[in-house]
């Protein structure tokens, strides 16, 4: 037998087998790469849907109901665009009222996000937060970056009864990083305890909408602020409130004007000020609860101390229902 005739088929066979193995490895690798790409695409789409939902929830204005979410772009319930959401680019959605009880207010949101070649849809239930307000000690109606702080501010977010109610230092219509920067820059004037949560960016408190609700609650006047032990009361002061003596109050104090502290005011509950807040040198404002302001100036030349008190907030909320932030109550992926 010719040896050359035997070697050639063997070599060809070896080459064919090797080529098949190499091709199989290449194909296996290609399949794994494709799978990994699909997983990444699906994950990116899921992240986009989650981000879109977070944006929708964060965009719900602080209020008592979810009409702003359900009313559509025109902001009017009962019109043709009800339920149409206009979230960020790459995302479409709608909102309606879910089954079940009408109170507390809830809305069902359906969103679809597209990211690259991926598409994910989800359904979510949103409602109002359990805790009134924004979960902050100070809820300002304007950015504090131009506020004047020559006095001292002490913020204690630790709730005495329930650690889950610990509050953030500050909420304002400003980016959280800018608020952090401002708090850092004012470190010589602002002190916070360890359990005080970080500042949050949030829409302004709905002071204008709260005013009529307070008025409808037959509030007392400035006489509810007393030198001795106060009784929790719904209080409304029409116009500026100047405190020159030492006074105490409790409940909810709505100042439909400026709050000017030259003396001392110790309040347990919620103080809402539609105008400027000014604490003069030597003056002090102490709040066990929270302080909300409108778009007025925020000037602290004296001493401001705010500490969290969930019970005081609940009592104020019992005097007049307070606005709450929108929150995510649950969600599920639709595909």
């Amino acid at each position: 037998m010719n040896r050359g005739a035997a070697i050639l088929p063997a070599a060809l066979t070896a080459i064919a087998v090797s080529a098949s193995l190499a091709a199989a490895i290449v194909e296996l690798t290609r399949v794994e790469v494709v799978l990994a790409r699909h997983r990444r695409t699906a994950t990116n789409a899921l992240l986009a849907a989650d981000g879109c939902l977070a944006g929708v929830v964060a965009g719900i204005p602080p209020a008592w109901d979810l009409d702003a979410l359900l009313a559509g772009p025109d902001g009017i319930r009962g019109t043709g665009d009800d339920g149409v959401l206009a979230p960020r680019a790459g995302c479409t959605g709608s909102a309606d009222v879910p089954p079940g009880p009408a109170a507390p207010p809830r809305a069902r949101v359906r969103l679809t996000a597209v990211a690259g070649r991926g598409r994910r849809s989800l359904e979510a239930i949103v409602g109002r937060a359990r805790v009134p307000g924004a979960g902050t000690l100070l809820w300002l109606g304007r950015s504090p970056l131009d506020a004047s702080i020559t006095g001292t501010i002490f913020l204690d977010g630790a709730d005495p009864g329930d650690p889950t109610l610990d509050a953030a230092s500050l909420g304002a219509p400003e980016s959280p990083s800018a608020l952090d920067g401002w708090l850092t820059s004012e470190a010589g004037h602002i002190a916070m305890t360890a359990r005080t949560h970080a500042a949050i960016g949030v829409a302004s408190p709905p002071v204008a909408a709260l005013g009529p609700r307070v008025q409808a609650g037959s509030p007392a006047g400035a006489e509810a602020l007393v030198p001795g032990t106060p009784v929790p009361t719904l209080t409304r002061v029409a116009g500026d409130l100047v405190v020159a003596a030492t006074l105490h109050g409790a409940g909810l104090l709505f100042v439909d004007g400026a709050l000017d502290i030259a003396g001392a005011l110790d309040f347990t509950g919620v103080i809402v000020v539609s105008g400027d807040v000014r604490i003069r040198p030597g003056g002090s404002l102490t709040v066990a609860g929270t302080l909300w302001t409108g778009a007025g100036a925020f000037v602290v030349d004296g001493a401001l101390a705010v500490r969290q008190d969930g019970d005081a907030l609940a009592r104020a909320d019992g005097l007049v229902p307070l606005p709450r932030l929108g929150v995510l109550l649950g969600q599920r992926d639709l595909g």
Binding site: A14, S18, E32, P98, P99, G100, L328, D333
Partner: protein, 186 residues
């Protein structure tokens, strides 16, 4: 001097031929092993990933309660078993024979997804398979072997799955750890 093939030439030629065949055989065997190993590794990674995706899918919708009927997110919370609840048809009630009640179970080196009486194996040969629970402060809540009680389950804000597969003869260890926050618990 004689002409033609001699014995020495034949022996040398045979040896060279055997050497070449041996090298080729070894090369093909190595290629085969690489192929099998790659396949096994890819399969193990796929298995771990699919297990994580199934767990994430169920955990994300835990506590979904469109009818505001008070549906809890967790029906069970044990180191080796977690059961999620979700009112998927907005009926206000949980049908435990459907996906509205979904459990993930680690037992005998296997992770399974249990719906009603159906058990779907998600991953085999798990050397580590454990569920972990965290409260709102990010502190791990250690459940007793019998599981967290109702108050303990309500305090859970996030659930984690930690799973490690293998190693097996053809591939090394494949592991995943996923932490999923329970929605609507802030």
């Amino acid at each position: 001097m004689s002409r033609g093939s001699g014995l020495v030439e034949a022996v040398v030629a045979t040896a060279l031929g055997l050497l070449v065949v041996s090298v080729l055989t070894a090369a093909m065997a190595l290629g085969g092993r690489v192929l099998a190993s790659c396949g096994a590794r890819g399969e193990a990674e796929d298995t771990a990933q699919l297990a994580v995706e199934a767990f994430t899918f169920d955990a994300r919708r835990a506590g979904f309660d469109p009818a505001a009927a008070g549906v809890e997110a967790l029906a069970e919370a044990r180191p080796d078993r977690v059961a999620f609840l979700a009112d998927l048809d907005a009926s206000g009630a949980i049908d435990t024979s459907t996906e509205e009640s979904t459990a993930h179970v680690c037992a005998a080196g296997q992770l399974s997804r249990v719906i009603g009486r159906q058990s779907l194996p998600l991953a085999d040969r798990a050397t580590t398979c454990v569920f972990r629970y965290y409260d709102g402060s990010g502190v791990e809540v250690i459940p007793p072997p019998t599981g967290l009680d109702a108050a303990g389950r309500r305090a859970v804000r996030a659930v984690a799955l930690e799973i490690v597969l293998g190693p097996a003869r053809l591939h090394g260890r494949s592991g995943r750890r996923i932490l999923v926050a329970l929605r609507g618990r802030s």
